[in-house]
């Protein structure tokens, strides 16, 4: 599926391929397989070997990034507009004709292990990974990076069979934004992908989530706190209500968490909450990092703010949020990368792309009454709480 948004005032063009090769498809004993395959796929494709692949993209000035999420492996790039067709051609080779060279397997394994190691030094990141894993049922919250045993066990056959079962046109979405001509783009993409044969989608099994409260011992003077609670998914009619409520909690420096936890009490430097959505369920994920001796107070105050949200928001809080969103939407028109990934994700969640005008209409329609009636039906609760630090914290009674 090709989704395009021309932005003729820009000099750049950006693209995002969403391939239905997310880590939910990783077999339990092969956790990290999607990431491993993504790394292998970049080691030569079509007429290019590994070095030529990087060299040609560098010469085209393609700024690229890859990401494995629950449902997708995404390949994104941005460059000056003239180079878009050639860049797409190289990435189509990656999707359709990667060499997956067995002689590079050990090197890629080392790359994957290095990345896994690096996370050990990033407690804030680790807490969020653990929070996702315990908030969503298995395999939805599974960490894409995998685990040591799995990464050590992955073979070239695992990679090739994962590629065969997950890299296919059905479910693949290509979002393009920036300076391009739609008819010409359609022809280019048609030429490159018309004869790509669909395959049956790889199945996966859903299991129960894990225990909701967990402490990770960490010998440091800091404690990292993660709290999650369920929310409606992106495709839900109440999505904008849920999103607005999170914005009041954490969007801008006058938002509640920043004001109460940092500005008023000086409890921490970093505190925030973000909305995240899978196709059928969503969640709000909060993080606060603080000195170990002030961690209990930070947890209590943060949970207090989450519970207070259910009492409703005020009209002036919403007005500030709307101003921020309005300017953010207009500024999105200045970034081809932001738009190409937005429209690709929209297509996955909604089966269509929302224009910025449509988003603006939804935002205009929000009132404190609509958000408050949403909040009374969906009060924050059923919290997942992860702490990481020298000592365990007490999660207050009534939080479950």
């Amino acid at each position: 599926m090709l989704v395009g948004e021309p932005m003729m005032s820009l000099e750049s063009a950006a693209f995002t391929f969403l391939v239905p090769a997310g880590c939910v498809h990783d077999p339990l004993q092969r956790s990290g397989l999607s990431g491993f395959t993504c790394e292998m796929a970049q080691r030569g494709a079509g007429p290019r070997d590994s070095r030529r692949f990087v060299l040609d993209l560098d010469n085209l000035g393609v700024e690229r990034s890859e990401l494995v999420s629950d449902a997708h492996t995404s390949y994104s790039g941005a460059t000056v507009w003239e180079n878009l067709p050639t860049a797409l051609e190289i990435f189509v080779d990656l999707l359709r004709r990667p060499h997956l060279p067995s002689e590079q397997l050990e090197a890629v394994r080392q790359v994957m292990l290095q990345e896994l190691h690096a996370v050990e030094d990033e407690p804030a990141h680790k807490v969020i990974i653990e929070l996702r894993r315990r908030h969503y049922p298995n395999p939805w919250g599974r960490p894409a990076q995998g685990d040591r045993e799995s990464l050590k066990a992955i073979t070239i056959d695992d990679i090739r069979s994962h590629f065969t079962s997950c890299y296919h046109p059905n479910g693949t979405i290509l979002g393009v934004a920036g300076r391009f001509d739609w008819d010409r783009l359609r022809k280019t993409v048609g030429r490159l992908l018309r004869d790509w044969q669909p395959r049956e989608t790889a199945p996966f099994v859903e299991g129960p989530p894990e225990q909701k409260h967990h402490h990770l011992p960490y010998d440091s003077n800091q404690t990292h706190i993660g709290i999650a609670y369920p929310s409606v998914p992106y495709r839900h009619p109440d999505y904008f209500q849920a999103w607005g409520a999170v914005g009041v909690l954490s969007g801008g420096m006058s938002a509640r968490l920043f004001t109460e936890v940092r500005e008023r009490r000086g409890l921490c430097y970093a505190v925030h909450a973000t909305y995240h959505s899978l196709r059928d369920r969503g969640g709000v994920f909060c993080y606060a990092g603080t000195s170990a001796d002030r961690a209990q107070e930070t947890l209590d105050v943060t949970l207090g703010e989450l519970n207070r949200l259910a009492e409703g928001i005020k009209a002036d809080e919403l007005e500030r949020l709307k101003a921020r969103i309005k300017s953010a939407l207009i500024m999105q028109q200045e970034s081809s990368s932001a738009r190409s990934s937005s429209i690709a994700r929209d297509w996955y969640h909604l089966g269509r792309a929302r224009t910025l005008d449509e988003v603006a209409r939804h935002i205009d329609a929000l009132t404190s009454q609509t958000i408050n009636s949403y909040l009374s039906e969906h009060p924050p609760g059923d919290f997942t709480v992860i702490t990481m630090g020298p000592g365990e914290l007490e999660v207050p009674v009534g939080v479950s």
Binding site: E120, G252, G266, R320, E334
Partner: protein, 412 residues
């Protein structure tokens, strides 16, 4: 795209790159002050003061400041480094006057003791946070090792001790020494109404009293050396290596930037193929950074402790070979193509342009359009790069290694 500049009577400069087609406007006050302008006793005061600027003025409380920025839908923040403190906001063009008025007002803060004491806790939390995340303070330790007693080696954050001991009076003192209008540039990019910008600047900053806010600029005498810091809590080993590089007003900075790309860019560079592609290092990079009167070529590497000593050796081999054999024309062209695309992409948003325009003016009092930058990159030759290598050898550096290893041999 039009450039304009204007100087107020008190010395405050106003510069802008105006783009009538832009959807947004970026505004920033660039103040020529940072950790290099601090005494030992006031270490961390520049950064602490940057936080205090958001804590209110005679006519606004801290809540008012945050609320008013949010009411404009501003994307705003501030940062402090060795020699600049920058306060900025990206807004829709209609908010230009109110954003300038608010930014100007917070630059004359109340510094109320109660706010001072609460914010001190936040700063200490921030110091703890950096101690607890990679590279575990090794960047500041490397700077201190490299610059020795020269003020460019000063820590931006300060220490828990120096920040704890700071008083509101000491901060006022520093403010009265550094925040002279002659040290301030108001910069605008994107959808800017320049006459309006000058009028608001005059109305809000014209009454600021000028005083001598000069900076003492002694020549630094960089030190070479190899230092290992044991950090048991870390899983990976981290390396910061500092070598001399061209200063901010030196034309050598373009060849140096391209050299850094050829040898140590994130993708497709010599260090990338030697260390990252085979999975020996999680990350390796070489960056060029400029200061007033001095510059740095900074190597960063993170890897599993087992291979750290080998990797240090590999980096040295890459740098030695580059010094003896130079780089090739093909490599230079590849780096130019990458840099050209990066310059174009990062210039698309007014907030991307803001820092380029501001830094060009603060250091060189010059305006360079995006096309000027692209031309300078295109003009660099292989010989220019060789000349830079001879002048700034990467093999002569101060290295700090931090991580779970208590000892690690220096590469030979």
């Amino acid at each position: 795209m039009e450039f304009h500049s204007h100087t107020l009577k008190n010395g405050l400069e106003i510069v802008a790159e105006c783009n009538g087609d832009a959807h947004s406007t970026a505004l920033g006050f660039f103040v020529k002050t940072g950790s290099r302008d601090e005494t030992k006793a006031e270490a961390g005061v520049s950064h602490f003061l940057e936080h205090m600027m958001f804590k209110g003025t005679p006519t606004r409380s801290a809540n008012d400041v945050n609320r008013e920025f949010d009411e404009m839908g501003a994307h705003y923040n501030a940062f402090t480094n060795e020699e600049n403190t920058v306060y900025y906001a990206a807004v829709l063009p209609e908010y230009q006057p109110s954003a300038v008025e608010l930014l100007a007002d917070i630059l004359r803060p109340s510094l109320r003791p109660a706010d001072f004491n609460t914010e001190k806790k936040v700063i200490i939390e921030e110091i703890h946070m950096y101690e607890d995340q990679p590279p575990f303070g090794a960047d500041e330790k490397a700077k201190a090792a490299f610059y020795g007693s020269h003020p460019l080696g000063n820590s931006v954050l300060g220490t828990v001790e120096s920040v704890t001991n700071l008083t509101p009076e000491a901060m006022c003192d520093y403010f009265r020494r550094r925040y002279s209008p002659g040290n301030v540039v108001l910069v605008g990019t994107g959808g800017i109404d320049f006459d309006g910008l000058v009028a608001t600047g005059e109305a809000c900053c014209g009454h600021w009293e000028p005083f001598d806010g000069g900076r003492t600029c002694a020549e630094p005498h960089p030190q070479e050396g190899f230092h290992v810091i044991h950090k048991e809590i870390a899983t990976q080993q981290y390396v910061i290596q500092l070598a001399r590089g061209p200063a901010a007003d030196d034309q050598d900075r373009y060849p140096a930037k391209l050299l850094a790309m050829v040898l140590g860019d994130d993708s497709g560079s010599r260090l990338y193929w030697d260390l990252v592609d085979p999975g020996l290092a999680e990350h390796v990079g070489l960056n060029q950074c400029e200061n007033q009167g001095s510059g740095l070529m900074m190597t960063f590497m993170s890897c599993h402790p087992e291979v750290a000593a080998d990797n240090l050796h590999r980096i040295l081999v890459v740098y030695r070979r580059a010094e003896s054999e130079g780089i090739t024309r093909v490599e230079l062209d590849q780096a130019k193509n990458k840099l050209r695309s990066r310059i174009v992409l990062s210039s698309e948003r007014p907030r991307g342009r803001l820092f380029t325009i501001g830094i060009d003016w603060v250091y060189r009092r010059e305006y360079r359009s995006m096309a000027d930058d692209l031309d300078s990159v295109a003009a660099v030759t292989v010989d220019d790069v060789s000349a830079v290598q001879a002048k700034y050898p990467l093999t002569r550096s101060a290295t700090v290694v931090i991580g779970p290893l208590a000892e690690i041999p220096a590469p030979e």
